[in-house]
Subunit: 361 residues, 2 copies
Amino acid sequence: MLAQKKSLILPHPFSTEGGAVLKAAPVAYEEYGRTDGPVILICHGGLSSHHAAGKFADTDLAPGWWDGLIGPGKPFDTARFRILSLNALGGMYGSCSPMTVDPLTGCRYGPLFPTITMRDQVRFAASFLDALGIEKLWCMTGPSMGSLHTLNFAAMYPERIERAVAVATAARMTASGMAMHHLMMNAFRADPGFQAGWYAPGVALGAAKIIAQVIKLYYTSEALYKTLCADTVTHGPGAQAQRAANANAFIQAGLDTAVAAYDANAFIATLSAINTHDLAEGFATVEEGIRRIQCPLLLVNIDSDHEFPPYAAEEVSATLNAARPGQATTRVIHSMWGHIGCIREPEQLARHVSEWLPGCS
Amino acid sequence: MLAQKKSLILPHPFSTEGGAVLKAAPVAYEEYGRTDGPVILICHGGLSSHHAAGKFADTDLAPGWWDGLIGPGKPFDTARFRILSLNALGGMYGSCSPMTVDPLTGCRYGPLFPTITMRDQVRFAASFLDALGIEKLWCMTGPSMGSLHTLNFAAMYPERIERAVAVATAARMTASGMAMHHLMMNAFRADPGFQAGWYAPGVALGAAKIIAQVIKLYYTSEALYKTLCADTVTHGPGAQAQRAANANAFIQAGLDTAVAAYDANAFIATLSAINTHDLAEGFATVEEGIRRIQCPLLLVNIDSDHEFPPYAAEEVSATLNAARPGQATTRVIHSMWGHIGCIREPEQLARHVSEWLPGCS
């Protein structure tokens, strides 16, 4: 399946919770499937792009990150649905972010980009749907930050969503995940090249390479390193040195490619927004905040995930099912990939989605 | 209990596995308890000091890191034993390391300090005992790197050790732990201030602060952040922002103090040495390497430890007990402190040690 890069400009100024106004805000997105089908909206993980499925050219090495779920005959079936995948507000891949040129000044927003929240990102997605004339979603889904957008959208716009699938998720951002986010933000801000956010765009900061390595450590698991770096080496002279070299090679693989895409200001805007995720925000109780979600909901967390452990999904489903039995379903992916299992285990995820969808179709 | 800083110079040149010779090598250590008692040797964790118990002055804020285990009437009873705690070869607290002045040149070794291995560190400990005229240990013990020294000493000098307690341990260094070590070493080496190891001594590098934060993330657990940073905040306006601030405050607490003690070259020497830990090194099978340990052995790992999960201790005890039933005992500490539980759970650890010691006394 070939993917195509699309974009639009929001027809109305976008106001943030903090009172800032973004004029002529661009939205980058991709579209797959039949143009007249019911709409499925895909939202990406925090540091990822919206390239969820297909290839831009047959020569691409790999397809989008959820290609196992999106395509003809797949759980999110392009033969049946119109599937949209947008880059989030603050994202590094074309939607309005610190990398965008402010039409008022002709310069990039850079560190002057306003502080944005999880709710801002979700209203941005709603504005994107408005711009396309789409009133209702047949389904909304995404991994990690995309799952948080999905839960918040379902809570904020219950009339616009018929079903939702949240993968690697929680009712509010976890403290461990926030510590990791702050670590990354602190590393960027402390980099001498950061220059209070006025670094030269496109030049990777030294901190970026450390961050990329921490990501590989924190968002995976002990079992992954054991399996890939240690168990693959048979006993003999120099075996332990080889295991150490494997661990270092794994943690450094693809660093240059990874950091080339990193923009520190967009990183900080996005991670700060994720940290504001709390379905309870503005409500008397956590339960009240969660119960705004009215559609059927599938929650899938990964057993080895340090950021969104399975209990975090169970909290959401327990609250929903206490009021409306059967509304929420939780499933667990068994994986050594840790948090990254949300895009690294397409077979398990596709099976859970396929089993769940018919009951709420 | 008051602790006293002691030191000695090894009377003979110390040769490393790699063939380097360290002349007049200093050993920093502390000594507690009765000078004529049977000897217990304490070994510290990789980035820690040998200040295991007591205070240097009554006004010290906190005692040494295993004060709950070492003292009058405690499991390692100073009323009964002579207890020695040494700074490891390559350590940052006074023993021979990159921070030491090379007597041949009058300059610090710095990056010219020879590569050292786990076996070098253990032979260094044996040379220290030789210098004090101590032939046999009643017990050897330590957390993390100290536990690896303990296992290797028991394997290399079975005639010199009567019992051993290894806390947060494994038969060989785990791949996840090696990835973490390489991450830290990569961060130091990539710091522009590192200058190939010729940085100004005593000036903290920028990378050190990032490393100190990664340590707080990787060596603890998700449950810790949840308990300390999130569950302590009651629901209400601004609650999630407070949780995020707590997570950031936790990960940044004490950074200046932590990094003031870090020496990048000593860090690299120590972590590289730990990565060479493999009881199987030089033997036909892993089992053969492990079975050199002949004394009774207690292994205590922590359930939330990403570096040394409980299975890693079980591997050692299963091998030993298959040949000599009852030789090894494993216990698990239940903790939200992750790897740091090896020094953060003195009550549980003291109970396990107290219950085990009588059976092999």
